[in-house]
Assembly symmetry: C2
Homo-oligomer: 166 residues x 2
C-alpha cells in the first residue's frame, strides 16, 4: 500500500509529520509530494524531504492522499498538477484526508461541492462558498473523505485516516 502526502514550504509541521509517521506505522510506504523534489520547511522550522514533484506523480499509484495545512496549501493550489491529482482521487472515490488549510487545495480543484467537510476556522467561509457542507467538529467523515480543523484534532484525524484504509 502507498500513501501520498502533500506538503510545501510553510506547511504546518505536525499536520504533516503526524500523518506521515502514522501511515508508516501501519507499514504503508509514504511519499511526500511538493512543487518540486527536495527539502521543504515547515512554519515551525522542521525540514523534510519532498520525495517527488507533483508533475511526476501518477495518482493511480497511490491508495490515499493526505493534505497537510499551514501556509503550504496556498502554494500547492497554484500548481495545476496538484489539482489534477486531487481531482483524480475524488473522481475515483479513493481515500483523501485533509486538515486545517488543506481543503484550500480541494476548493481550487473544484471537488468539495456538496461534500461534508471541516477546516481551519479562518477558511470556513471559503469552503462554504465552494459548496461544502461545513461542520465544526474535530473530524468530519464523508465517505472516503475525512477532514479536521487543526493540530489539536490530530488524534481524531489519524484514527479516521487509518480507518479509510481498512
Amino acid at each position: 500500500m502507498k500513501a501520498l502526502v502533500f506538503g510545501a514550504d510553510g506547511f504546518e509541521d505536525v499536520e504533516l509529520i503526524y500523518p506521515y509517521h502514522r501511515l508508516k506505522e501501519e507499514g504503508i510506504t509514504t511519499y511526500v509530494a511538493s512543487i518540486q523534489k527536495g527539502p521543504i520547511k515547515g512554519e515551525h522550522g522542521y525540514q523534510i524531504e519532498a520525495d517527488i514533484a507533483f508533475k511526476d506523480v501518477d495518482p493511480a499509484d497511490y491508495d490515499i492522499l493526505v493534505i497537510a495545512g499551514g501556509r503550504g496549501p496556498e502554494k500547492m493550489r497554484l500548481n495545476n498538477h496538484s489539482l489534477e491529482i486531487a481531482k483524480y482521487f475524488f473522481k475515483e472515490n479513493k481515500p483523501v484526508a485533509a486538515i486545517c488549510h488543506g481543503p484550500q487545495v480541494l476548493v481550487s480543484a473544484g471537488v468539495i461541492k456538496g461534500r461534508k467537510a471541516t477546516c481551519w476556522p479562518g477558511i470556513r467561509d471559503d469552503i462554504i462558498a465552494a459548496g461544502a457542507h461545513y461542520e465544526d467538529k474535530e473530524v468530519v467523515i464523508d465517505g472516503n473523505f475525512v477532514s479536521s480543523r487543526s493540530p489539536a484534532d490530530l488524534h481524531a484525524f489519524g484514527r479516521e485516516m487509518i480507518k479509510l484504509l481498512k
Copy 2:
C-alpha cells in the same frame, strides 16, 4: 486506560505531540506532567498545557509512562518527583517509552542498568556509562521498555509504544 507523558520547557515538539495524539487515538486518556502545571514550550515553539505537576502524580494511576526528548529531560531529571515516578514504573514493570534525550531521566533515576536501550547519539556514552546495553536501532524493545533515537524514528516508536498496551 491512562497515560502519562513527561514534558518540560524545551521539549522536542513532535516527540511529545506524536505519542500524545497517538495514545489519544487509541482512546487512552493522556496527561502531560511537568515541573509544574500550566503551559510548556517546545524547542520549535509549540505550546502545550501540562495537566499536572510531577509532585502531584500518583504513578499507580497510570498504565504507561512516555518521556519525550529535546532539552526537557535535563530539567525533568533535576526534579526528584519525576525520578520517583520513573523508578515506580520500572520497579512495577509497567510500560515505559522514552525517545531521544528522554533516557537522561532514566539515567538519573538509576533504572537503566542492564537494560537494552537506544537514545539520541549525543547521550549514547552516558547511557552506556549508566550500564545500559546500547543499540543503534530505530526502536529497541526490552520487555516493557521501548526506546528510540530521534523524530525520524517516530513511526517505529509509536508502533511499539502501542504494542506495550495490548
